[in-house]
């Protein structure tokens, strides 16, 4: 990565030859807060560190490694790669989230991977609201060589999803990836539209949707927690993808999310191209957050 994280930069030179006393711990807690972990989790992690190292001399690198391992311990149980091409047939995967978080792009990236695996998939342009959302998904479908089912802008999204699943069952497809319109979680009307999409899929397959992927933007702050809660409640989120980790934000709020919700994190987005999707790794995420092993790779 080109950048070192804020936390990493902040740590550089901070602890060289310094005793891990109350002042130092406070500085450290501040740095964690600056990575969007939130006040509560930051203070918890700092307290954990203090348990074993309070008043000891500690180097920058030692503190980074210790921090990374605290974070990794929280994130490790959430690390769960998923192979959408496997499992029930047709596997119905719904992508949900707030506006602009990266849903459509993430579907495009996954579609490209699936094509390489030789899976028979169908993309569904369930965002029937936003201008040119259908065209955007269509371009990704063409790139991946996977068909896209759509209806004109303004059509009922739930109806489209119903038809898509019927079609996938009829044609014995491996999976159906459903794009949905971005919606803010506090908008009751839009959230009930999403609930309707979920209900409709169940009519054709009581186990569907098999995956409901919440797409979170790495720049988001504490609002991510409310996003997870609301989308879980409405759509039964089964897993998370975090996008835009290639920018200056390192998505620290994911630690707070992981503390509060036993939801697997499947992938991270690190760019806008098809190949810019990686399986989530607790260790890599923790290291990137504290700026470990990044300077070396410049």
């Amino acid at each position: 990565s080109k950048s070192s994280s804020k936390l990493g930069t902040g740590l550089t030179g901070m602890f060289g030859g310094r005793r891990l006393d109350d002042d130092a711990l406070e500085d450290l807690e501040d740095l964690l807060i600056m990575s969007d972990m939130g006040a509560k989790v930051s203070s918890k992690i700092t307290a954990n560190l203090a348990k074993t190292r309070f008043d000891k001399d500690i180097s920058d690198d030692e503190i980074r490694i210790a921090l990374a391992s605290e974070i990794e311990a929280i994130m490790k149980p959430r690390e769960q790669v998923v192979d959408f091409a496997d499992g029930p047939r047709p596997r119905v995967v719904l992508f949900v989230g707030v506006n602009g978080s990266g849903k459509t792009t993430t579907i495009g990236k996954i579609a490209s991977k699936l094509k390489e695996q030789g899976a028979k998939a169908l993309l569904v342009a369930g965002d029937t609201f936003r201008a040119a959302a259908i065209e955007q998904l269509t371009v990704w479908g063409e790139r991946a060589g996977i068909p896209v089912l759509s209806k004109p802008t303004g059509a009922d999204a739930a109806g489209l999803v119903y038809e898509a699943i019927e079609k996938a069952q009829r044609e014995d497809l491996d999976l159906v990836l459903v794009d949905t319109a971005g919606r803010l979680q506090n908008k009751a009307e839009l959230m009930s539209e999403l609930a309707k999409i979920v209900r409709v899929t169940r009519k054709l397959d009581p186990d569907a949707p098999h995956d409901v992927i919440l797409v979170l933007d790495a720049t988001v702050g504490q609002n991510a927690l409310s996003q997870v809660e609301a989308f879980r409640h409405t759509a039964g989120v089964s897993g998370i993808v975090m996008t835009k980790l290639d920018g200056t934000a390192k998505g620290g709020v994911l630690v707070a999310v992981a503390e509060a919700h036993a939801l697997p994190i499947h992938f991270v987005g690190v760019g806008e191209k098809a190949e810019d999707l990686q399986p989530f790794s607790a260790s890599a995420y923790a290291k990137a957050l504290v700026g470990l092993g990044q300077e070396e790779t410049v």
């Binding site: 969007d36 959302a133 065209e135 702050g221």
Partner: protein, 310 residues
């Protein structure tokens, strides 16, 4: 969902009401709560620290000692301090569009709301100010980005048109073509909607700087998501370094986020916040209002009536 600040401060201030004077110790206890509230609202930590220091200076003083309800007085000081930091009650939010064709450049991170905001401001300028507006998408990267702007322009009536799409042109070429078309077409305002970019993508930031150099925009607006966390300062600072920014737009204020990013970005750049995005639809645009945003950040809409009730 969030505790209102008054609830949190309740305990501290209950004890103080009627006593009539605030010691430094009392103020510090209250400010610790305010610090947490601001952090929960996603105000960036360095901004929080500066702000708290200033409030403390003001609070531990005569003003407070003389006031009858010292607790409420601290909240008022905090609120007024936020309004100040956000640019004051009559912050200048008008756009400079008096020299046709005036160029307005839109920039920001991926998915922040640039294209939608372009159409929203165009709608406002054409309907309220009777301007003839040209919209040009310089986003040659994201699938269907240009089509998106064209579709939005079509929804906006005869006074708003979009520059015809020519495949294969580079952003700088499109900018030149847009300026030319605006001159020939007698447009008052021409919008350059740029592709989303991260602030550390050197090539893309250089491209944006080049576009600004060519187009000499009267207004360059950084469009940012109001739900942004601590990264708001980093993004604002880096875009401000590279582009001749003249203002900020915070989108998704219709969410239930507390919008601390507005304060962070304003504090680090000193740029006025011109608009707030309040929905997906093209009428979802409000002129910036510092009091409203301050109340929002503190988790309570109407501070003034609260103070008056006290």
């Amino acid at each position: 969902m969030f505790d209102a600040l008054t609830d949190r401060l309740g305990g501290i201030f209950d004890g103080l009401t009627g006593r009539g004077a605030l010691s430094e110790k009392d103020v510090s206890a209250a400010l610790r709560e305010i610090r947490v509230a601001l952090l929960e609202a996603d105000v960036a930590l360095p901004v929080v620290k500066d702000f708290i220091a200033k409030v403390k200076e003001r609070a531990v003083g005569e003003e407070v000692i003389r006031s009858v309800k010292p607790g409420q007085q601290v909240i008022k000081i905090v609120h007024d301090g936020l309004v100040d930091l956000l640019g004051g009650e009559d912050a200048e939010t008008r756009l400079r569009v008096d020299n046709p064709p005036s160029v307005i450049m839109m920039a920001g991170l991926q998915g922040s709301g640039k294209t939608t905001t372009t159409a929203k401001i165009a709608k406002r300028l054409s309907e309220r100010d009777k301007k003839k507006v040209l919209l040009a998408s310089l986003d040659v990267r994201r699938p269907a980005a240009m089509e998106q702007l064209a579709v939005l322009a079509d929804q906006l009536g005869a006074n708003v048109t979009s520059l015809p799409i020519v495949q294969g042109q580079m952003p700088a070429e499109i900018a030149r073509r847009a300026l030319q078309a605006a001159k020939l077409g007698g447009h008052d305002v021409v919008f350059l909607d740029t592709a989303g970019r991260t602030s550390i993508d050197e090539q893309m930031m250089a491209e944006a700087a080049e576009i600004a150099k060519i187009a000499q925009p009267k207004e360059s607006l950084l469009v940012a998501d109001a739900l942004t966390g601590q990264d708001a300062v980093e993004t604002a600072r880096r875009f401000h370094e590279r582009l001749p920014l003249t203002g900020l737009v915070l989108t998704r204020m219709d969410g239930d986020g507390r919008g601390g990013a507005a304060l962070s970005m304003r504090a680090v750049t000193g740029l006025p916040i011109k608009f707030l995005g309040t929905g997906e639809k093209l009428d979802g645009l409000d002129a910036f209002d510092a009091k409203r945003v301050a109340g929002r950040i503190l988790g309570q809409g109407d501070i003034v009536s609260l103070v008056e009730r006290a």
